[in-house]
């Protein structure tokens, strides 16, 4: 794979090899083509980029630190473990990088109404936040099941002025929230901007979300060089839709010495069928506007998923990850709910950093990986979000009422 090839995708039709594309009903095509055109102009527009950078610095609080987890490293007994602290961003997760970017796009396009879907609520909160910041009307679609699991984030969104729409159809989780967001979009396509929360969906979303999140990897690269004098040996990030992972990976794609690990939600185990790991145990198909790895039955019906983390509970994944898997540039693995919970407790106790349950998947795998590596090697974990939102889930497992 040539350097140029690795960085040049998606192609003009939004394809990453066999993946990606634009599989939507005709009503949305014009809007998507317009968005693509507009984004390509703004991507090279110094004024837009300056405004984006300013928001990232002054509103989000970037750059986020690259932190050497000394005690975790000592306890693990292998490679040095470093943490990219996306949990320190405003609103507590990497999601805000993307929502700021897309909300600016919406403003440039003159759209006053914003819709979004959310699973754990991180993307919903980030969207509601930037809408408050820019004075945009905000509607968030959320599976009814997730509304219950993430009541704190639902309340946060409401405080921020967003209207939260619980989705009762299907499995009442993230995929159904995305279906309902698309239904709203088709209905209100003239005045509404859809802020998709991950690197999935129809072209150009996987491209523009990746571009907005790539700040994570750019900073990591520069910070690692600055602090250690060299590049990391391995990057580890959790993958639901995969936006924090692609944001971390993309600037390193052509650094051949850097290995990349995307960690999926293994739920109760890949053999149990109760998981959310399409790259580890799914196959290619078409859902939500793109071709990608999916969890589905033999008839092409999308399967229900399970993860202790609402944010990873999605049966698909961004198309660029599907491509990176097939060409072998990144490796995709899964850890179980129990392993992720152990990762959560470990990082909390050893470093005083409470990761989101999503990020805890990356922590769990990274410690396993680091233990097999020499002490002079460097592993960077993307701590994509903070764990406050998951306190209720953890407390419930501990039998405690909060």
């Amino acid at each position: 794979m040539t350097e140029e090839m690795l960085r040049s995708l998606p192609d003009s039709r939004g394809h990453f090899g066999a993946y990606g594309g634009r599989f939507v009903s005709e009503t949305l095509m014009d809007s998507l083509m317009h968005l693509e055109k507009q984004y390509f102009q703004l991507r090279d527009d110094p004024e837009f980029q300056a405004q984006f950078d300013k928001e990232l610095a002054d509103y989000v609080g970037r750059p986020s630190p690259l932190y050497f987890a000394e005690r975790l490293t000592r306890e693990t007994g292998g490679a040095q473990i470093w943490l990219k602290r996306e949990d320190l961003n405003h609103t507590g997760a990497h999601k805000v990088n993307n929502t700021i970017g897309q909300a600016l796009l919406a403003s440039f396009l003159g759209k006053k109404r914003v819709i979004a879907e959310t699973g754990a609520g991180q993307h919903g909160v980030a969207t509601a936040t930037v809408c408050a910041r820019l004075g945009l009307e905000c509607h968030v679609f959320m599976g009814a099941e997730d509304v219950q699991r993430q009541s704190l984030n639902v309340y946060r969104m409401k405080l921020l002025g967003a209207e939260v729409h619980p989705v009762e159809s299907g499995t009442r989780t993230l995929k159904d929230a995305m279906n309902d967001a698309m239904r709203d979009w088709v209905t209100n396509v003239d005045d509404t901007f859809y802020i998709i929360g991950t690197v999935a969906g129809p072209h150009p979303y996987p491209l523009l979300v990746r571009d907005f999140q790539a700040v994570i990897g750019r900073e990591t690269r520069a910070q690692c060089l600055d602090k250690t004098g060299r590049l990391p040996d391995a990057l580890v990030a959790c993958v639901g839709g995969g936006s924090n992972a692609i944001g971390m990976f993309y600037p390193f794609l052509t650094d051949e010495s850097v290995e990349m690990y995307g960690v999926e939600a293994g739920g109760l185990g890949l053999d149990s069928g109760q998981h959310a790991a399409p790259l580890s145990a799914g196959r290619p198909g078409v859902l939500h506007g793109n071709r990608t790895y999916l969890m589905e039955d033999e008839n092409g019906q999308i399967s229900g998923t399970h993860s202790v983390s609402a944010g990873l509970d999605y049966p698909g994944v961004g198309p660029e990850h599907s491509w990176l898997k097939d060409i072998g540039r990144a490796k995709y693995v899964a850890v179980t709910d129990d392993e992720a919970l152990a990762g959560f407790r470990r990082l909390t106790r050893v470093e005083g950093i409470m990761p989101a349950l999503e990020s805890a998947h990356a922590v769990a795998y990274a410690t396993k990986l680091a233990a097999t590596m020499d002490k002079d090697k460097i592993v960077v974990i993307n701590v994509s979000g903070r764990g406050d939102k998951d306190i209720h889930t953890i407390a419930k497992l501990d039998g405690i009422e909060v």
Binding site: R13, G21, R22, F23, V24, S25, E26, T27, L28, M29, D30, S31, S169, G170, K175, D176, M178, N179, M182, R183, V186, T187, N188, V189, D190, P284, G285, V286, L287, H288, G289, R291, L294, E296, E298, N299, G300, Q301, I302
Partner: protein, 270 residues
């Protein structure tokens, strides 16, 4: 000439409009779908659009989404839907059947396997809601080689340039979505539809069927006046939902809905 083309040409010669009802296969139960298809034909259907249920029908409103859920509860698969068409063909060799659904069940079966099986079962056309012509390069030739019509959607947001391009990829008829929204909403604006359809007519020789928002004889006639056919879905599916316990009552109710539309459309011819 395809069965769809034959029917539409005959109707045009008679100055009549096509009545194209939609039901979801397997709703309320896979055993009754063939029976319901015959009921629709008896009540005046010219072409049947048979929905292939999908777990995530994101372009459909709640009425059809619920029909998909009812059907999938019985495990209805694309292969079974094709068996239903085959069974329908055993006693009706004339009425064209268009499969309407989403791409993933077709991908899961495999494009070539699907195209072969659809042809063998007696399917006449395929409309895949989430497959624009740009992404249909692999599958479209498989359909045309077998004489299956590829039917694509046109929307209020479709530019003239795209209307030309999409029509160029279509055969049988093009399906004009009457408003921005999902199936089952009641937002149709007949004047707006008339204007758009006449523009489409000026850009393609293909017949234009209009769907979304047609609920009764009155709207059917109003839309039939400006188009070549009307597609009726949610109101029928809603009737199925309300009568799922009693199949005889259901058939009567479906026929009672469709027949006045047939009559209203035929009055336009006289």
């Amino acid at each position: 000439m395809s069965r769809i083309e034959t029917v539409l040409k005959r109707l045009k010669g008679q100055g009549r409009k096509a009545l194209i009802p939609y039901i979801t296969a397997g709703d309320p139960h896979p055993d009754v779908t063939v029976d319901l298809m015959h009921t629709l034909v008896d009540a005046g259907a010219d072409i049947i659009e048979l929905g292939v249920p999908f777990s995530d029908p994101m372009a459909d409103g709640p009425v059809i989404a619920l029909a998909c859920e009812r059907s999938l509860k019985h495990g209805t698969s694309l292969r079974q839907v094709l068996k239903m068409v085959e069974a329908f063909r055993a006693s009706d060799s004339e009425t064209p059947v268009v499969l309407m659904g989403y791409l993933n069940p077709v991908e899961a079966m495999g494009y070539t396997a699907f195209a072969d099986a659809a042809k063998a079962a007696g399917v006449d056309g395929v409309l895949t809601v989430d497959l624009p012509p740009e992404e249909a390069e692999d599958v479209a030739p498989l359909f045309s080689e077998r004489g299956l019509d590829a039917i694509f959607l046109l929307a209020p947001t479709t530019t003239e340039e795209r209307i030309r391009a999409i029509s160029g990829h279509s055969s049988g008829y093009v399906y004009y979505v009457s408003f921005k929204g999902v199936t089952g909403a009641a937002r149709i604006d007949v004047d707006d539809v008339a204007e758009k359809v006449s523009r489409i007519h000026s850009l393609t020789a293909l017949p234009v069927g209009v769907g979304f928002g047609i609920r009764d004889a009155e709207t059917a006639a109003a839309v039939g006046r400006v188009s070549d056919g009307v597609i009726v879905g949610s109101v029928l599916v809603d009737t199925i939902a309300k009568n799922q316990e009693d199949i005889e009552a259901l058939k009567t109710a479906l026929a009672n809905l469709l027949r006045p539309m047939r009559e209203a459309l035929d009055e336009l011819a006289s």
